[in-house]
Amino acid sequence: MMTNPPQSFREASARLRVQGLLDAGSFTEWLGPARRITSPHLAALDAPVSFDDGVVVGQGLLEAQPVVVIAQEGLFNGGAVGEVHGAKICGALLRAIEMRARAVLLCVDSGGVRLHEANAGLIAISEIMRALFAVQAAGIPVIALVGGTCGAFGGMGIVTRLCDALLISEEGRLGLSGPEVIETVKGVEEFDSRDRALVWRITGGKIRRTLGEATMLLDDDIPAFRAAAAKTMGDRPRQRGLSPDALQTLEAAQRRLEARATLDPGIRDGQQVWQQMGLGEEVALMDPAEFNRCLEARER
């Protein structure tokens, strides 16, 4: 097996992530930067635009299997979804069905809706949700990859949880409302957004993996994400109608979520969750592989 040099997923741009995830030279971009489909709404507000409106979409190969890849650029407007950005994601999802892709790799790096075009962004996220359902109904798994600087929040935090699998790094974060928003509205006693360790214990990859939301915790390394995506894709039998939407499946999910919500109301910190499980300080020290093994042993 070929070993790749480590390359930080977090520090890489969306474009470099795409290149590193796919088989070398296999990527074809749709509506690439040379087409200059930029946001007229940012321009109207005199805000800088980007040639790709902050998202790279296209097709390529992952271990010789055709996949669709979607990668948000967290550094451009916080990876937030606007009209063009959202429409590119929607179109790419639907194209996965047309081309019978083996999987969709969705690199979420987004704070949610882009405020400069908030209404368009909100509707777009709802359209993305419906397109994602259509992809899954066609038997194509959607794999979320989270490890960028913006994490996956707002509507994109919801979209991430609709995916068939979630690969996340320790530094990756997932939630609905960002800590800053909660602090602004509810006060610093509710959520101190500058307490980085606390933010990590609420939204970070380890606690998300602990609660069963992430499929796998990964090193901050593009080759590690690539290997995990390939493995996840291989794990799932490709079968039309193998739908996560069956009534019984959702009834079971309902019971699991109800059980989680009954967690002791005093628990407001990931540390308390780990303590309740009999895991202590060692959690912070475990590397991702060790942590996955530890949880897998318990889940069995």
Binding site: W30, L31, G32, I37, H41, A44, L45, A47, E83, V84, G86, A87, K88, C90, G91, R95, E98, V113, L115, H116, E117, A118, N119, A120, L122, I123, I125, S126, E127, M129, F133, G154, G155, I158, R161, L162, L174, G175, L176, S177, V181, I182, K186, E190, F191, I202, T203, L211, E213, P244, D245, L247, L250, E251, Q254, A261, L263, R268, D269, V273
Partner: protein, 243 residues
């Protein structure tokens, strides 16, 4: 007869279902049925500008799953009443993974659609951000009732965060529906199918919406109405284009 429903929602139900309704309200969650000219429809929703937390999201998803299970091969329409100020803002709710609860609710709504239930959302009160995304925005048809406030964020907060002066935003909001709050803006962008006025016969109008396509037609509507000119064409070009 409906029980414990707050006054404004009771008046709404009376007007939608003059032939009768039985809806209960528990912890800001509405659940029950209404009688239409062609039979009963399910009513599921929220009241009093609910901040959607895990408890409310679970109550809504449970209601949707119950309806799907009970109706089996004879799916009746579901009328969602959306009245939400958005998601609950809380550290504990974030720890529990509120976004995952919303995703589950969305999945349940989609199951109802796939099982043949016609989905109609009526916005009565507020429809804001995540709380709106979780169920109201996923319906086949979305209607705003008079006075409905639909938004992601008010302009003052937006001015603070984007550092664009408030005066400039209000000025631009007159020319573009894309960022400012307002049901009419969402209508122009295709995100809301219809705006009802106070004078109309809502029972008859609802009746007319109880049949129709399940297709997501919002991008097309946005282009037709001129409020969202790029969404449909960009998505189409990615879908069918060559590069």
């Amino acid at each position: 007869m409906s029980m414990n429903v707050n006054v404004s929602k009771k008046a709404l139900l009376d007007r939608l279902f003059p032939a009768g309704h039985a809806v209960s309200e528990v912890g800001q969650v509405l659940c029950g049925w209404g009688q239409t000219a062609t039979g009963r429809v399910h009513v599921i929703g929220t009241t009093a500008h609910a901040a959607i937390d895990t408890r409310i999201a679970l109550a809504l998803s449970a209601a949707v799953l119950r309806v799907v299970a009970e109706d089996g091969n004879h799916p009746r329409p579901i009328v969602f009443i959306a009245d939400t100020q958005g998601q609950a803002l809380s550290r504990r709710e974030e720890l529990l993974g509120l976004n995952g609860y919303f995703a589950h609710l969305a999945r349940c709504v989609n199951l109802a659609r796939n099982s043949g239930h016609r989905l109609v959302t009526l916005i009565d009160g507020e429809a804001v951000s995540g709380g709106f995304l979780a169920f109201g925005l996923l319906a086949d048809v979305i209607v705003a009732l008079p006075g409905a406030e639909v938004r992601v964020m008010d302009l003052r907060a937006m001015a603070r965060i984007t550092r664009i002066p408030y005066e400039r935003l209000t000025e631009l909001a007159g020319a573009s529906p894309v960022f400012a709050p307002g049901a009419d803006n969402y209508w122009r962008m295709g995100g809301i199918h219809a705006l009802w006025t106070g004078a109309e016969d809502w029972a008859a109008q609802l009746q007319a919406l109880l049949q129709g396509s399940h297709e997501d037609d919002r991008a097309r509507l946005g282009a037709e109405r001129g409020g969202r000119k790029l969404a449909a064409s960009v998505a189409q070009e990615v879908l069918y284009g060559h590069g």
